[in-house]
């Protein structure tokens, strides 16, 4: 058994963004102070999360029970490798996004900025809560908070289109949340336990195949909405009416990855690989994910709006992770986890670029991008890094994860899925490369005269994420040991045993 220590650090990490909300609201008349609170919370949260890393690498698990929320069930946080993995991604990217946001909302002259920053903090707090939840009910509670917190961001522009998207988002998210609540209640009725455990805890209690499938489908519908699994995805392209930093962090990282993280938790920590296999649940999940990958890539080909194309690309890449989990092989699982991190850095770079182009040149359509590579060289260089990564070109980080995903497909003997991965890689190139072509090799129009790079508040974060993608591609274990963590997690889940992470510490 791994040793579990009690510590308030996870609680503080979750509370840091939440505590920033009243401060942000109170200083609504003083923008600089308000932004200071956002940054302070971002650095605090990230610092607290990173401070947990050495312990987790050494095999220690840190937990904190906040209070009992239902007889027998506590609202509790626990820092296991999986949760920490996700928390690191979110909290570190929040810092970059905060800088970028400041540049973006000021540059674009957005109204109701206080509401924007407050909701953003709420979303991050909820996402960290999701990452560090120790059991399903805590997960559900933070999941619902996230749904609610994202709504003001989606309707931020307050246009007819954004209202429609906001309602759509809320309908999808709340229905999904309710299904998840039902699934959680059902799980509790079956197992009288909701604590996540590597390898799952439903193994012995599920007997009936129909019930197992129904419960699994409830779960997948619940988390699949946020994970953009088809046919539950249509809110995501619609939600692209939100300001770009929101699309970047929330609709490419925090919100959608919470859904994917939910799939990982459900598949690896509630059902467990053995149960999944026994009832054929892996096939269901893999089929859905494979269809999503291909369809999303094909649809992306036809989008002219840059953010919409990125959105469909996101849908496809989220399903990479889901498919990796559904393969039920250690390499696949590990590849999925790595893709969780790698897709985050690359996709956020692409969204940041889209936002910089919008603020600087007010262009949103791909057909308008001719020649902007010369006007915004840094931005478009970062864009290129992201595109290459997502298409699976070494040495960008997403290549590593795709490699492991393919390896997983091979080792599980399901070559169909290998074909899916490869075909999707080609499709990725097909919908991304024309953008690069336009940006660098077509002559720009007259509208580009007199424009140069966006504000440094935006360009610097863009360059940082691009460099990050490159560094993580060359040294997958750099900085925060993502590689070790992912390997440890996948071993522990596949072995169904306690985490054999001890000894991996540097």
């Amino acid at each position: 058994m791994p040793v579990t220590h009690e510590s308030v650090i996870p609680l503080l990490a979750v509370l840091a963004p939440l505590a920033a909300i009243p401060l942000i609201l109170l200083s609504s008349r003083r923008p600089n102070l308000r932004e200071f609170w956002t940054l302070a919370a971002a650095f605090t949260a990230c610092g607290l999360i990173l401070s947990l890393l050495p312990g987790v690498l050494a095999g220690r698990t840190v937990a904190y029970d906040i209070l009992t929320i239902s007889p027998g069930i506590a609202l509790s946080l626990r820092v296991d490798p999986t949760g920490l993995f996700f928390a690191i991604i979110c909290s570190s990217l929040w810092i970059l996004t905060s800088f970028y946001s400041i540049g973006y909302v000021r540059g674009a002259g957005e109204k109701k900025q206080t509401r924007y920053f407050a909701s953003f903090a709420l979303c991050i707090g909820a996402t960290l809560g999701i990452a560090l939840s120790a059991n399903l009910l805590s997960f559900v509670i933070f999941y619902e908070m996230l749904s609610l917190g994202t709504y003001p961001l989606v309707i931020h522009k307050e246009t007819r289109e954004s209202y429609r998207s906001g309602r759509m988002y809320l309908t999808y998210a709340l229905s999904a949340g309710l299904l998840l609540i039902v699934a959680t209640a059902w799980t509790w009725a079956l197992a009288h336990n909701l604590d996540f455990r590597p390898g799952g805890f439903l193994g012995g209690v599920l007997a009936d195949e129909g019930a197992a499938r129904a419960l699994f489908l409830l779960f997948i519908a619940g988390v699949g909405v946020k994970a953009g699994l088809m046919p539950l995805h249509s809110w995501l392209p619609a939600a692209m009416v939100a300001p770009t930093p929101v699309s970047a962090l929330l609709h490419a990282v925090a919100v959608v990855k919470s859904g994917v993280f939910g799939v990982i938790r459900v598949a690896g920590f509630v059902f467990g690989p053995a149960t999944m296999q026994a009832f054929g649940l892996d096939t269901i999940l893999a089929a859905v994910a494979a269809v999503t990958i291909i369809l999303a890539s094909v649809i992306a080909l036809r989008q002219d709006n840059l953010k919409k194309r990125l959105a469909f690309s996101t849908i496809g890449h989220l399903s990479y992770i889901v498919l990796g989990v559904a393969l039920l092989s250690p390499e696949g699982f590990m590849g999925g986890l790595l893709h969780l991190a790698n897709h985050a850095t690359t996709k956020i770079a692409l969204f940041f670029c889209a936002g910089a182009i919008y603020v600087n040149l007010h262009k949103t359509e791909i057909s308008e991008l001719d020649g902007i590579g010369k006007v915004m060289p840094w931005t478009m260089a970062a864009f290129t890094v992201g595109v290459l990564g997502l298409s699976g070109v070494p040495p960008i980080n997403a290549f590593v994860s795709k490699f492991y995903l393919c390896k997983g497909a091979v080792s599980s003997g399901q070559l169909v899925f290998l074909a899916v991965f490869l075909a999707s890689g080609l499709l990725n190139m097909a919908y991304f490369f024309p953008i690069l072509h336009r940006a660098f090799f077509r002559p720009g129009g007259a509208g580009l005269h007199g424009h140069s790079e966006a504000s440094p508040l935006m360009v610097v974060p863009i360059v940082i994420v691009a460099v990050l993608s490159l560094v993580l591609g060359l040294y997958p274990n750099a900085l925060v040991h993502f590689f070790d963590l992912a390997r440890g997690i996948s071993q522990s889940v596949m072995a169904g045993a306690a985490a054999p992470l001890a000894g991996l510490a540097p």
Partner: protein
């Protein structure tokens, strides 16, 4: 010792206040309000003290005039009645503090009558909660009913007619209760609740008893606005003054729900009832139907009070659904939802009162987003309560639904689960509609006069704002500490025959 008198003191204080208020009003008009608030505050204090005593030292029995139970009337403070009296008096206290300004604004000139009737209403409701005698319950039921008919009769021009309808239906409900009680009395020979429940197993032919019980449930269902007996509620709540609605809506139906809990869990063996008769199933299905119907009707309303009234029909359905499950989890869900809904509905109606006093109306299409700036606290309280009604964690409303879902799943009642899910979504639809109006720039340009009115208005005065915010805060506290509430107060009240 004062503690042993608490069961009597709660209704008696209200009665005394009701008698004193007409006299006090002769001296100084404002005194009637002060007296009403003071009496309710005192009763709240007694109720809290009683609850503390019941939790630590066991139940309190008070034999009026010293006659032993089957012969005299008995007041009982057991975990269930102590719990209900605390939140009924607590919510009433906040509503009455809030009522001070609203009454002056809406039913000015008859404030003495308002407060005296409010005291009689509370005397009746708290008496229903503490009494252990089934006929005495009827007497208190009628006191509270008469008070609420007349409270509702003042308001906009249509109020008297809706009050009249409420009166005829309410009286019929009481007649049903009394007829049912006649059946029970003739088959058992006692009126004391505990005595009846202890003699019932000896009754050979239970058909008259069950019919009597069904008639009583029917009568109480009318009072509780259980679907399809809810016809009186929407009109009554809409046309009455905001002060009367805010007082009656949160607690009136809850006390009826309390009586239903008493009848179906304590008068008869709930397990026998569930396994041998369709009564709990019927109550549960009516509750489920009410949840859907009330939510759908609420979606169609343009007037905030009317929307909230239909939402009450839906929320009462949740309680009925929990009662219909006839299981420990259902019991917990129903009891907790009664508490939560009392707080949520009170908060929502108080905010409606704030709008009415400041804007002069509470019509949905005329609310504009300037209110967000001019009445920020009222809007925030409304948001909190609305989110809690939708059932999002960590606010209180989520947890009662959680227990109801758990209870339904435990019995593999998937229909109820589906209805709970659907009704929550419908709640979201109509509450977010209001929130959009409060917070977002409207798409169609609103009426200029409405914009001007909203821009010129100010936040409600402290005496109205404070109770609203206390209730909104309570929702968060109740949500976070729900497990404590369940294990400390609700678990001890679950009847032992239910096997928990």
């Amino acid at each position: 010792m004062m503690t042993s008198h608490i069961p009597l003191l709660i209704p008696a204080t209200f009665l005394l206040a009701a008698l004193l208020i007409p006299l006090a009003a002769l001296l100084w008009r404002r005194l009637s309000w002060l007296l009403a608030v003071a009496a309710t505050g005192l009763c709240f204090f007694y109720a809290v003290k009683g609850l503390a005593h019941v939790t630590t030292a066991g139940r309190l029995h008070y034999h009026l005039a010293g006659w032993q139970p089957p012969f005299g009337i008995e007041f009982v403070l057991d975990p269930l009645s102590a719990f209900f009296s605390v939140f009924v008096t607590g919510v009433a206290l906040l509503a009455l503090i809030h009522a001070g300004r609203v009454v002056a604004h809406e039913v000015s000139g008859v404030d003495m009558g308002f407060y005296a009737l409010a005291m009689l209403l509370l005397a009746g409701l708290s008496g229903m909660v503490v009494t252990g005698d089934l006929f005495n319950l009827y007497v208190f039921l009628e006191i509270s009913a008469l008070a609420s008919y007349s409270l509702i009769a003042r308001g906009d021009p249509r109020a008297p007619l809706s009050a009249f309808r409420y009166l005829t239906l309410g009286t019929t409900g009481a007649a049903f209760y009394l007829l049912g009680l006649a059946f029970v009395y003739m088959s058992v020979g006692s009126l004391n609740l505990a005595d009846v429940s202890h003699l019932l197993p000896d009754v050979g032919d239970t058909r008259p008893v069950l019919l009597g019980l069904s008639l009583m449930v029917l009568g109480i269902g009318l009072k509780m606005a259980l679907f399809p007996l809810h016809a009186w509620l929407a009109d009554a709540y809409t046309h009455a003054s905001s002060a009367a609605t805010a007082l009656i809506a949160p607690i009136g139906t809850k006390v009826a729900a309390y009586v239903l809990l008493r009848l179906m869990f304590f008068l008869v063996d709930p397990q026998y009832l569930r396994d041998q008769t369709p009564l709990p199933a019927i109550v549960g299905c009516l509750g489920a139907a009410g949840m859907l119907w009330g939510s759908i009707m609420a979606m169609c309303q343009k007037e905030l009070k009317r929307m909230l009234a239909y939402s009450s029909v839906a929320q009462v359905g949740y309680i009925a659904l929990g009662i219909g499950l006839a299981s420990p989890l259902g019991f917990i869900g129903a009891t907790l939802h009664a508490l939560n809904h009392a707080c949520m509905k009170a908060c929502l109606f108080l905010v409606t009162g704030n709008f009415r006093v400041r804007l002069g109306h509470s019509t949905l299409p005329r609310l504009v987003d300037d209110l967000r700036r001019t009445m920020p606290w009222s809007a925030a309280a409304f948001t909190t309560a609305a989110i809690s009604m939708v059932g999002l964690p960590p606010l209180a409303g989520f947890f009662s639904k959680w227990y109801l879902v758990l209870g339904s799943i435990q019995q593999s009642n998937w229909v109820f689960v589906a209805v709970l899910v659907a009704s929550s979504l419908l709640n979201a639809v109509y509450f977010f509609r209001v929130l959009e109006r409060l917070y977002l720039t409207p798409l169609a340009p609103p009426d200029d006069t409405d914009v001007a009115a909203a821009a010129a208005t100010r936040e409600a005065p402290a005496s109205m704002l404070a109770p609203t915010l206390v209730l909104a805060g309570a929702l968060l506290v109740l949500g976070i500490f729900n497990a404590w509430i369940v294990s400390t107060f609700i678990n001890p009240m679950i009847p032992s025959r239910l096997g928990w």
